[in-house]
Amino acid sequence: MIKKVYRYFFGFIKAQEKWLNKMAADGYRLVRTSIMSYEFEPCLKGEYEYCIEFVADKSYKKAKEYREFLEEMEYRTFTKNINIRYCIGKIKLRLWAKGTGKIATAPGSINKELLIIEKKRDGKPFELHTDLQDLIDYNRSIRNSYLYVSLLTAFILLCSFIKIIDLSAAGKFILGIIGALFVIPTIFYSKIIYDYKENQKTQE
């Protein structure tokens, strides 16, 4: 019997991962994802565990290759959106992404910013990135995506304050809230990167 649950986690990757692992601990295995929902089938409690990978910095082709690699490693994968966006034929610039990932399309890499990865619980930690440099690069990708939006909102606010563009007080307020929301994870991931870099001075 399929259990459908409606949840939206925005960009809170760790929160989503924690929730999926709680569902798995309660005996539910993920079978399908869509923009606002997750579908589960019953399984043994704790049989599976989940990890979520941010792949929005990769092009559609690279993300697909990575997904195929993970499936060769005997993991099961699902794509998931960060934003709520029902669209076909859309093109978006992601200046913080790598290579051709800077252009995201729908269909394509829009609404596939995350990969949910499943493995059977085997008692070993479920970590996709274990090398310090790799951890720095991975967290930097996530940090840069938040930093890009923070800088963009700051730029638009600046333009409105110096009267280059006209924004209402409500518009400025909303933009300020959005900017603040994106600054928090920017600082969070910057701290993670800093800690890894400090570690890297003496260890690999």
Binding site: F69, L70, M73, H129, D131, D134, Q200, E204
Partner: protein
């Protein structure tokens, strides 16, 4: 490590992946090889391994092996350039080992 850039030191991940493909091997096999040979000390995450394989492919130190279209898992094998790099790394490690053994064992006497 950055201060070894002139010495050409490889990261442990890089060296272990090179060793794992002296015979044709796929991603899962590489991960298992490294874990078994290090008795579980070094357990590579799939994301780290994916990055390492792509880096080594770009450098030409490993090459795809076999018919990619027909096989379920992509396999890789070390190239001649990769073997030269691995041999240089072995010499470097042997030199460091001799220095460390002299000093550490010497200090204990």
């Amino acid at each position: 490590m950055r201060d070894n850039i002139k010495g050409g030191a490889l990261t442990e991940t890089t060296f272990c992946v090179l060793l794992a493909v002296y015979k044709p091997n796929h991603g899962y096999g590489i991960m298992q090889f490294i874990e078994n040979e290090t008795s579980g000390r070094l357990s590579l995450g799939a994301g780290t391994l994916y990055g390492a394989i792509n880096t080594l492919l770009k450098k030409g130190w490993i090459i795809p092996y076999g018919d990619e279209k027909n096989s379920r898992k992509k396999e890789y094998i070390i190239s001649n350039e990769g073997m030269k790099t691995a041999e240089k790394e072995l010499e470097r490690l042997q030199q460091i080992y001799k220095i460390a053994e002299n000093i550490i064992r010497g200090a204990k006497k």
